[in-house]
């Protein structure tokens, strides 16, 4: 029901936008909705860059934490550490956005990477990555723990070390669940809004850029800033800039919905394997 409503609402509005807009402006240089320039590629690369940074941070941290919790930690340590990791998941994204802007950008991005801007896609990506770590961690941990103990016992029985068991036995057995965790993380990173809206800059618009250290705009950030600021601004061609957010929203919905379906399929494969 709800997803049907989303699709209907988005598709209808998106097509009315596409009908009104000059299609060539969808492929110009830069995303400046108020000036009638709607380059989808600009915000798409922004989203991809932020997601790449986020995944580079979150993949090793999330998987490492999951492996430690599932294979190495004593039950007592696990009881203590897992809720703490889940605490990180319950922190609202707007808080991490502020953290990314006020702490990550000045202390990490400006010092170590020589960024000169007050905003950057990098800082936003790092912030999003921190949000993604607990998600990847807990889904991957579930996948690792779903591997039956027999497999581990068998490997230990022929003299394998714990590292060998973890990497050569448990990891391959759980690999589809881990892939699912990564896909879910990616879809979360693509859909994350507040961190980007606060820390990435590019509120009014952005040139097409591949510079991670400078400000930029993402799909979610574009929607947020359209909603936040330029409410009823008409462009020179008499087009309502606000309407473009339905189009971007539709793209985002299709993208993340597709990723979620793929990951669902992987999770089901895990369940089938060891029932």
């Amino acid at each position: 029901m709800i997803s049907l409503a989303i699709v209907i609402a988005l598709v209808g509005q998106a097509f009315s936008f596409l009908g009104k807009v000059d299609l060539s402006t969808l492929w110009t240089d830069g995303w400046f909705p108020r000036r009638g320039r709607f380059d989808v590629l600009t915000i798409f690369t922004g989203s991809v860059l932020v997601s790449i940074v986020a995944m580079v941070v979150a993949t090793p941290l999330g998987l490492g934490a999951a492996m430690y919790l599932s294979e190495y930690a004593t039950p007592r340590a696990r009881r203590l550490l897992k809720p703490t990791l889940e605490m990180l998941a319950s922190i609202p994204s707007v808080v991490l956005g502020f953290f990314a802007l006020a702490v990550i950008q000045p202390t990490i991005v400006q010092t170590f990477f020589g960024s000169t801007s007050a905003f950057s896609l990098m800082a936003a990506g790092l912030g999003v990555g921190m949000l993604t770590v607990p998600l990847i961690g807990s889904v991957a941990e579930d996948a690792l723990r779903a591997v039956p103990g027999d497999l581990r016992e068998a490997a230990y029985g022929i003299g394998a070390r714990r590292r060998t068991v973890t990497l050569r036995v448990v990891f391959p057995a759980a690999v589809s669940g881990i892939v699912a965790a990564l896909i879910l993380g990616l879809s979360r990173a693509l859909g994350e809004t507040m961190v980007v809206a606060i820390a990435a800059g590019g509120t009014g618009g952005s040139e097409r850029t591949f510079d991670v250290l400078g400000p930029g705009q993402t799909m979610t950030g574009a929607i947020a800033s359209l909603a936040y600021g330029s409410d009823q601004v008409k462009t020179a061609t008499g087009l309502n800039a606000f309407d473009s957010l339905y189009f971007v929203g539709l793209l985002l919905f299709v993208l993340t919905f597709g990723l979620n379906i793929v990951s669902e399929r992987y999770v089901r494969r895990v369940r089938k394997a060891y029932r």
Partner: protein
């Protein structure tokens, strides 16, 4: 086999028995894993400490005044009262709608619906909806509640009302509530149901007197976690018309209030974080502390409830 000298066998066995410390790569590996975990926790700690450092001067100097003041363009007079009241009102709305609807949907899907193709598609769909970015729900709220249902959600506020925001958040948390409630229902063992059927109970009697009481702790945990999530959501509220600047509330009855303009705590955090000047950084951090404290209390309640009512079969 006879080609392996006995001494080699003996030494390798000795190594296996005594030589745990010699497995350097294994130790490095486990160290790296632990480091990954601790680094994640260190991030949490850094985040809390740095925000607390920014927030402390404001909380110390303003104290209760910060909680009781309304929005203002002067940093030294701005407070979070309207945001806090707004967030709590929204949460009450979300709870009032999503609790009955979510539990009813979960009972239907888990207990009544036959395992048909349609049910499987519905369940998979609900799972997918839980992964849809929250800002997409914001667009839905804008189209449906703010624009299409404006006559209900408040003509005077152009639909940008408590009702719109609350209903948008309800749609957002419903998939979570349904999924977690379904898991809780599924966890009730069949033997309990069979016993009730055995003494002649009807299906509804079994569900009401046996399944629901046993599933209740799990269901409420899910609902409260969903509410905590709704409490921190910002993006959908931006689209569903939360006020980001100055907010003047007009007096009126409860229905007029619900149809009136609103703001929420995370929305205030977002708006303030974009304002220049050190004073606003302090205010933003202080508002975040209020937000986090509320969410932390909710989470603690959940943990206490969970350990109290948790049972093993």
């Amino acid at each position: 086999m006879s080609s392996i000298p006995a001494s080699a066998t003996r030494s390798s066995v000795e190594l296996a028995l005594s030589g745990r410390s010699r497995d350097i790569r294994g130790r490095l590996f486990s160290g790296a894993l632990l480091l990954a975990l601790l680094l994640s926790l260190a991030i949490l700690l850094t985040l809390l400490v740095s925000i607390w450092n920014d927030a402390w001067p404001v909380l110390r100097d303003r104290g209760f005044d910060f909680l009781a003041s309304e929005t203002s363009s002067l940093p030294e007079r701005a407070g979070v009262r309207q945001g806090l009241v707004g967030s709590l009102t929204l949460i009450a709305l979300v709870a009032a709608v999503s609790l009955p609807l979510g539990i009813a949907a979960a009972i239907y899907l888990q207990e009544y619906a036959k395992d048909t193709r349609l049910r499987r598609i519905l369940v998979a769909n609900i799972r997918n909806l839980a992964g849809v970015p929250s800002i997409v729900y914001g667009i839905l709220g804008l189209v449906v509640f703010v624009q299409a249902l404006r006559s209900i959600t408040g003509q005077a506020s152009y639909g940008r009302s408590y009702l719109s925001g609350g209903l948008t958040l309800t749609v957002l948390v419903m998939p979570f509530v349904v999924i977690i409630a379904m898991e809780a229902l599924r966890a009730v063992p069949w033997s309990i149901r069979e016993a009730a059927y055995g003494v002649g109970a009807t299906k509804w009697e079994v569900i009401r007197s046996h399944v629901l009481p046993y599933a209740a702790p799990g269901v409420f945990t899910g609902v409260i976690l969903g509410l905590a999530r709704a409490f921190g959501e910002t993006a959908p509220l931006l689209l569903a018309g939360a006020v980001t600047g100055f907010l003047a509330t007009s007096p009126g009855g409860p229905w007029e209030t619900l149809q009136g303009p609103y703001t929420a705590l995370p929305v205030q955090v977002f708006a303030w974080s974009r304002l220049p000047g050190q004073a606003w950084v302090g205010n933003t951090a202080a508002a975040i502390i209020v937000l986090l404290a509320t969410i932390l209390i909710v989470n603690l309640v959940v943990i206490v409830l969970r350990t109290r009512y948790e049972r093993t079969w």
